[in-house]
Structures are given as structure tokens and as C-alpha cells.
């Protein structure tokens, strides 16, 4: 694993430098993602030849630190769900590397991958379709345990324990999914993810399908579990208010690329990328008296089948310049005073927000 470690160290260095200087001495990268790429083929014609590629994820680099919640935010088609699933190797990548605790995830064989999967779990968005309707929920949770050789009394003990941890009655393990509400089913999904005591949980829009008054129950639960068990979350969502509430660090994606990444407070107080600014200003806030400057973007989100040249955002960008349509901007740290603030934009110089054009 030497090569892997070396690469990890080299790749991690760019962000770890400034990250280490933040002063959070104990924070280490649990997950390192380097230039992740996932293109889906589009096949057509009688011979089903590949006619085009959906560039769902087009080169994404970031790290997730132990014990934190990393919020990954963006609108439909930005690639955030694909990032989540590719990291777990539920989808095979097209390119790039992912290191989990220093181990090369994409280089693992089947047996080693199975071992890794104990530590990396997923909570799905739709509590209605993510549980097999023909299995009692206890059995759904037991499935994961069986795969890892845990059965019988030991498995029962774990199932009872995780159901209690998510606020459900262990006696209900014999009930079927349809006997539970949406919020309860989501708790079951969380229990299932917890059963093997993972280190990392990818939460893919875990509250989007729930009623507003239930969302806070689940968010509080995730928060409690994180504190109790030292869990690390990759929290994928399109709801910025939820992401702001729950995240320590946030990455913003647009059309397959990450455009900005920094700590939660800095992102919302000092967004640098024009897309991030527009996104934040578009969120309706429950305060009728609040007067805000609204940045309304023109046009629709282009398709990942045919992303624009240069910066993917340039056709809708209110401040785009000539270079933006030609050259893909570099993903770089513009944070001052040792802060981590990554941005992909030709027009951002540093985090004081002073832009300049490069002609």
C-alpha cells in the first residue's frame, strides 16, 4: 500500500497544509477523494453503440475529516448523489481515487471491499422504496449482519440495540414497513446503517422526503448519534438551510464539478463563487420583513450530457468574462490566514472577495 499512502499524502498535502494550520490538530482525513470522475454511457441505435456520455461527475477533489459532517450541496444534475455512491463503490468510477483511512478503495478486491463496507454505510432518500416491503424490518436490518457472518442471538441483540438507538421499539422488529410512517421508516434506514458500527455514513437526502415537522426529529437523531458514536457523515442535500444547520464543512457542486468548499460559517457568511452566491440568495427565508438582494440566474441548468466549455457555469454567470468560456478554472485554495476556502473561479483572487480578471 506504499504507493497508495504516498499518493494519499501528496494529494492530501494541498488541503492538509491549510487544514492543519486551522488549528484543529486532531482532525485527520477519514476519506480522501482525488479527481473523481464518473461518466455514464448513453447507448442508442440498433447496435446500442455509445453515442454520448453523461458527465455526471467530472473531476472532484475533497477530503472528509473524522467526526465531522461534510455537507455536499447542489441542484439536480450536479452529481452529488453520484459522488456519494461512487465513493462507496456502489457505482464503479470512471477515473480518480478514493482513500478511506489511507486504503485505496478502488484498488480493493471483493473480499477486502466487503471488509471496508462494514465501515462505510448509506442512508437512502426515499424511506418508502428503500425497505423491502415483504420483509419484516428486523430482517432488513439482519441482512447486512448476515453478509458479515453475524447471525442468531448475536444478530438479534444488535437489532434490538439499534432500534432502541433510533427511538423505536425493539418489539416492532417483526412489523412490516407499511406499518410505519415515513419518519419511522427513515429511522429504520438509519438503524440499518448503524448495525455494523460504521465509521462513515453517506446520507443521501435523508430528510427530503419527510414532512417538515418530522425532519427535525431525524436531524436531531443524526446529530445525537454522531456525538454518541463519533460518526462521520457525508450529508448530501439540496436544501441549503438543512445543510447549513447540520454541516461543519460544505462543498458546493454544479454540473459535475465542485465549485466551492470551506467551513460552514465561512461559506454562508462569505460565499465567493458566483453560483454559491446565487444559490444562497435564492433560498426563501421564513421572514417576510427581511429585505435581501436577490440574484436571479437566467436560464436553465444545462445538461450533463453536454456541459459548456471552460467553466461549466459561465453561460449563466452574471460576471463571466472571456476566459471563462475557454478555460476550465483551477480548483485552488484562496483562503487567507491559513483558512481553507477552495474555489474554482477565474475571477476570485482571495477570500476577501476581491476579484480580478485574468486576460
Amino acid at each position: 500500500m506504499d504507493q497508495g499512502d504516498a499518493t494519499a499524502t501528496k494529494a492530501g498535502a494541498a488541503t492538509t497544509e491549510s487544514a492543519g494550520a486551522v488549528g484543529n490538530g486532531s482532525a485527520e482525513a477519514l476519506l480522501q477523494v482525488n479527481d473523481l470522475v464518473k461518466h455514464f454511457p448513453v447507448r442508442s441505435g440498433v447496435l446500442q453503440r455509445v453515442s454520448a456520455w453523461v458527465k455526471a461527475v467530472d473531476g472532484v477533489t475533497f477530503e472528509i475529516r473524522k467526526g465531522e459532517t461534510f455537507g455536499l450541496v447542489g441542484e439536480s444534475g450536479c452529481g452529488k448523489t453520484t459522488v456519494g455512491r461512487t465513493i462507496l463503490r456502489l457505482i464503479e468510477p470512471t477515473g480518480g481515487e478514493v482513500y478511506f483511512e489511507g486504503e485505496d478503495v478502488f484498488g480493493q478486491g471483493k473480499r477486502d471491499m466487503k471488509r471496508l463496507r462494514r465501515d462505510m454505510q448509506l442512508i437512502f432518500q426515499d424511506p418508502f422504496s428503500s425497505l423491502d416491503p415483504r420483509m419484516p424490518i428486523g430482517e432488513s436490518i439482519a441482512e447486512g449482519l448476515t453478509v458479515h457472518g453475524i447471525k442468531g442471538a448475536e444478530a438479534d441483540k444488535i437489532i434490538r440495540r439499534v432500534l432502541k438507538e433510533v427511538g423505536l421499539h425493539p418489539e416492532h422488529s417483526r412489523r412490516y414497513p407499511h406499518e410505519f410512517s415515513g419518519g419511522q421508516r427513515q429511522r429504520i434506514g438509519i438503524a440499518r446503517a448503524l448495525a455494523l458500527r460504521p465509521k462513515l455514513i453517506v446520507c443521501d437526502e435523508p430528510v427530503s422526503a419527510l414532512d417538515v415537522s418530522i425532519q427535525s426529529q431525524v436531524l436531531n437523531l443524526l446529530d445525537d448519534l454522531q456525538k454518541e458514536y463519533g460518526l462521520t457523515y457525508l450529508f448530501i442535500a439540496h436544501n441549503l438551510s438543512v445543510v447549513e444547520h447540520i454541516s461543519h464543512r460544505v462543498g458546493v457542486m454544479y454540473l459535475g464539478k465542485m465549485v466551492e468548499l470551506t467551513d460552514r460559517d465561512s461559506l454562508f457568511a462569505n460565499p465567493l463563487h458566483p453560483y454559491t452566491k446565487a444559490l444562497i440568495s435564492a433560498v426563501p427565508v421564513p421572514d417576510p420583513g427581511l429585505k435581501r438582494e436577490r440574484i436571479i440566474l437566467e436560464g436553465d441548468v444545462p445538461s450533463p450530457l453536454n456541459p459548456p466549455d471552460g467553466c461549466h457555469f459561465h453561460p449563466r454567470c452574471p460576471i463571466a468574462e472571456e476566459i471563462c468560456g475557454r478555460v476550465d478554472p483551477e480548483w485552488r485554495n484562496v483562503g487567507t490566514a491559513g483558512l481553507e476556502h477552495m474555489v474554482a473561479c477565474h475571477l476570485v483572487e482571495d477570500d476577501a472577495g476581491r476579484g480580478h480578471s485574468q486576460s
Partner: protein, 360 residues
Amino acid sequence: MTSKDNGTGNLLEIRGLKTYFFTEDGVVKAVDGLDLEVARGETLGVVGESGCGKSVTMFSVMRLVGHPGRVVDGEIMFDGQNLLDLSEREMQQLRGNRISMIFQQPLSSLNPVFRIGDQVAEVFEIHQSISRDEARQKAVEMLRLVGIPDAERRAQAFPHEISGGQAQRVMIAMALSTQPELLIADEPTTALDVTIQAQILDLMRDMRDRSNAAIVFITHDLGVVAEMAERVAVMYAGQIVEYTDVQSIYDRPKHPYTVGLLASIPKLGEKKHRLAVIPGTVPALVDLPPGCRFAGRCIPRVEQELAICTEVDPDLLSVGEDHQVRCWLYHDHPPTGHEAPLATGRADEEAALRWAGTGD
């Protein structure tokens, strides 16, 4: 209860509406005694979660409630006329003409086999006696007005060739082409991305300013309501539980459900460690227990040990200028045989403080 009224009476007045669904499992009382007014040119926000009855209320107004549901009681006065008395033919003349509706899923509300220009033109053909060519021209003008770029060419597109945001613009074009007096918008931006939602809300405000149509805006999103509505009705389990102007809902919410809802949603820019929680879930609308429908989840009821809440269903009570609440906490004189709750003046502040205090 005064609403914005320019002296010619309310455009829409609903009194005692009851819409029930007669299912195999029992009678679902989807709307159970609802009173609502919308003045000309006013925007009313109807807020609630799934199953609260907000959509069924508006389908009742449009007389589009399907089997096994039907309106069992009440009146729906539109410009002085009870819509429940009209024949289907008379309703068809009203629908899409004086009262229009736009829906949540724009791509499934459009007919997939017709071009979008033709679908907009159809509205003109039906409600105005003009030629097909004239209707097509007007359709292109409407598409331009709602911000479809290259309108003349895009009018030839089929629904599957346009995006969700564009489809919603087409729906708005169709809904507004007859210059309706009342527009009912049922979760029009819920299925859209947030930057597209901002565009559509902007468009709706623009259209509203031009046409002075009254709008009933149905949503579960308290942020959207703050942006669009002048008055707000909060619905829970088939009833309106709070009814007032938009500023009061956010500054002085009184019903424990409203208070809990506002305290439980994360608000951009506000940092809380913990969100307030409304315990439990929405009750099934079949075989509802007696008393207030929110009682099972109501923390103030438990803290103040109020028995009346699980025995008698409260009415909407006026608690200030243009502010109504359906809650025993605010009744000085409950029915005989029941104790009055703590002094009315303190009840709402305590409830509000308790929720707001959760967290920091």
C-alpha cells in the same frame, strides 16, 4: 375578521366546507369545517403538511374532487355565486377562465402528445371566440411574456423537450392567458430546483402586479409563504388552526402547531444547536378521536394539564385584530364543565418561549 377588501366584497368566501372521502377503511374527513376568504387582488398562503387538506380544499373550490370524495356541506361563494349550485357546464365556463389552477408537477400536467404552443392556444380557443391562427399568435405572446426564450420556435416543442422550470412557465402562461380573477397555485415550485424556484416566484410576482389577480398559494414551505403571501391560513388535519397576516404568523405565532413548525425548521442564517421537535405524527383522518386534532402532539396541553383538549374540538377564536386561532389555550370562557386554561395573555408567550428556548 377583516381582510383586504376594496368595498366590493370578497372574491372568494368559503363557509363551513366539509369534503369527505368515503373509503373502504372508513370516512376520511379531509376537510372538516373550513372558513376562508380571499379579497380581490390579495394573495393568501395556505400552509400545511401532507394530508392537512390544503389541496382538497382547492379541488373542492374547482369542483374537481374525484370519487370516492365529495363535498358534503358548506358553501363556496365566488363573486357572490355559490359554486356548489352550478351545473358542470357552468363550472367548465369558469374553470381556466375566471378561476385558474397550476399544479405541482408541471411536466405531468401537460399533455405529452401536443406541442406546448398548441396547449396554450387551446385555452384561448375555448374561452374566447377567435380563430386558431389568432389563438396561436396569442399563445406565442404569452410564452414570451412568461420568459420562454425564442418563444416562436419553442412553441413547437413537446413537453418532454423542455425543462421543469420551463414547463411551469407554460402552465403559468396557460393559467393567466384568460386574465383570471383567481389563480390557485398548488405547490407550484416544490418540484423545482431552488434557483429555478426563485425565477418562477419572481415571475409570479410580476404577473400578479400586471393582472391584479387574487392568488391562493398552497405550500408546505414557510419560506415561500413569507415571500409571496399577504395573509396566511395554517392548516392541520383538515382544519384551519391559525389565520392572520403574514407578518403576524412569523412574529406572533399562537397555535402550538405553528409555533412548533417555525421552531423546528432550520432557517438560513440562524444558528441553532438543536431544532425544536413536534413529537408524534399527523393523525390518520379516519376515526379521529374527540377533541382537538393536534392534542396528541401538543406540549402546552400536557404541561398545563388541559382535559378539554381531548374532549371538545375548539372553534376558531379571534385573538387580536385580524388573527384567529383554533386552540383552547386562548379561551377565557370554555364550555361549562371545563376549567379555563392559564390566563390567556400568558399562554402564547409561554408556548413561544418554550419552543424558541430549545436549542441555544
